[in-house]
Symmetry: C2
């Protein structure tokens, strides 16, 4: 094979765990003329997106579409499901589980932190070590700062065996559409997601899923992020405040293509991630996560190599990658194929890894 | 001129006061591949949008870009500028000034409502009738539910003559880019806007403008809408949470074209609105507002004609219009050319009005 590269002739590749390469149906939806959000056409598209998301979260409750980031959905869930003073257990083992703790703190909750090494997953025995009672458990399904995937189903079971009245709220931001997920079926009460992750749309929408039980337990707070205001109107395709309706249309358009093939899509994401990890192993790279999330790979940097060097090596080949956050800053690099991509894209990135990580 | 219309051969026209017809530069920006928000390219585009918005608001302070609607920006300003228990004066004369009152109420402020007839504007003598002291005044520049434009400069002066320590916070959601506006120059401390109005982008971004004085008075609250978190990072082109970066790019792209011709653009919006009001007068329609905002026309329905009939008459010609809100529901209809349009579009709509409002 010819090995001389033609300088600069690479197409851009976004290999970050959100935002991600856009689904073509999302781009098409965004190219349409502006819809008015209080029109029949908009209500129809809103309900398509909402119903599709409810199918994806596997809930008989409701998914509320919030104009904001995934963090807005997390903030809204904490504020509207727990009154100030409520006592919640928050395992902290990465940047996003840390975010749950900070949100709960700001909302005036009593936060019991369960500190774990970053990269590890939460196990039922960790939960059992925490001194109750608790009104809730805040979990991160895919902790994309470390690449770890928690078994939220088993954790919810363990928690509810001790605190059957408690609510289990899950950050599914990088797991939905990428990994299996079930809301009520797994004993979860509420979950958050965002538009720029597994659903391959631009950032700007947060999805807040509420099980029927969570809806019963609502303790609405705030104005813009008040979930009671949204619940009142969203089942008719309306929203309390002007929604990012173009992104809602993008969500609906991608769902129409993605939902009928969701199991195959999830299998693909798993396979792509395995290819990247296998390539890393071949290159002698050490993976960070104890249990691997298909949303992102996370490797320790090779001995004596800085993140700037790795980033530059990928950038020279057209690719945007991402480094570590918090305590992993400068110690790891991450790659994701959560965006629009197929198996051959994984092979392309594997090839790029072999080139980019050869620093001799 | 041939008067037989060919049925169904109308192009869609969005004549609502937000969302509006998109600027072609916005559509182009949205068609681009996904940017990662933590990249140099994204930081550059973010700073272009931020700096451009600061020029539009005419502030030496900062404009913060929030992923959310204009209501998110209003909520953020109230929560971050006033501590619970602060006493604010809120003139209420339409749906959006009513929203200020509700937001302030939810945020735990002591709200003194100044009730005026809908359609009227606030005058300095109204403010003087209110029993102080006040920590703030919440004003609506263009009250688009009635089509009225307040002279916020004079009102700020009158308020500050009595309460020099107070903060004047303005809803500029349908006035920025449509009508003259100055933040510090007019004695205002903070203002809110949204992406789907005068700037002709899709909905999904709220802009919160803070004067240097407002920045000094910040009393940060909340998590997602905490303005201190945003202030800390936005001057470097970052944002606390994943921003709707595609909409930020659309904002920057439109600003690049709009800012150098802003006075001419504002003059055009004024002229378009005058054409629509003149046509209404010719048709015997009674305008609602005491002082007319260029953002939207608002007419009482002709005697014996329902809003559904008017809406249908415009819809049959391809146009989406909007009715009344709150106490004006079923009593008025509204038309706006705030979106991408020129003088000839105003003549086109005038022609459509003459046809659509002939119910004989």
């Amino acid at each position: 094979m010819p090995s001389d590269k033609i300088p600069g002739m690479y197409r851009p590749r976004l290999l970050t765990p959100g935002p991600v390469e856009l689904h073509p149906r999302a781009l098409e939806a965004l190219a349409r003329p502006q819809l008015h959000h209080r029109s029949d056409a908009a209500r129809q598209v809103f309900l398509q997106a909402k119903t599709g998301l409810e199918a994806a979260f596997k809930t008989q409750g409701q998914v509320l579409l919030l104009t904001g980031s995934g963090t807005a959905a997390m903030d809204a869930l904490v504020q509207n499901l727990f009154a100030p003073g409520a006592r919640v257990l928050v395992p902290v083992h990465g940047n996003f589980s840390e975010r749950w703790a900070k949100i709960a703190q700001q909302a005036g909750l009593e936060v019991v932190r369960l500190e774990l090494e970053w990269g590890r997953v939460v196990r039922p025995e960790h939960l059992e070590s925490a001194q109750g009672p608790f009104d809730g458990l805040l979990l991160t399904h895919s902790e994309s700062s470390t690449g770890a995937l928690n078994d939220v189903r088993t954790l919810a079971q363990a928690f509810k065996a001790r605190f059957p009245e408690g609510l289990v709220v899950v950050d599914a931001i990088t797991s939905l559409f990428v990994s299996e997920f079930e809301l009520e079926g797994w004993g979860l009460d509420a979950a958050a997601c965002g538009s720029q992750k597994g659903i391959m749309c631009p950032p700007g929408l947060g999805y807040a899923a509420l099980s029927p039980r969570a809806i019963e337990h609502l303790k609405p707070r705030g104005f813009y992020l008040n979930l009671a205001s949204e619940l009142k109107v969203q089942s008719t395709g309306e929203s309390a405040w002007t929604p990012a309706i173009n992104l809602v249309a993008a969500t609906a358009a991608v769902l129409a293509e993605l939902l009928p093939r969701l199991p195959e899509h999830i299998a693909l994401k798993q396979q792509q991630n395995e290819i990247l990890y296998a390539t890393g192993q071949e290159l002698g790279l050490k993976p960070v996560p104890e249990v691997k999330s298909p949303a992102t790979t996370c490797f320790y940097l090779p001995e004596g190599v800085s993140y700037a060097q790795v980033k530059e090596a990928f950038a020279a080949r057209g690719a945007t990658i991402i480094g570590g956050q918090g305590q992993l800053k400068g110690r790891v690099f991450r790659l994701s194929l959560m965006g629009y991509s197929d198996l051959y894209d994984a092979y392309a990135v594997a090839h790029m890894m072999r080139e980019a990580l050869r620093f001799d």
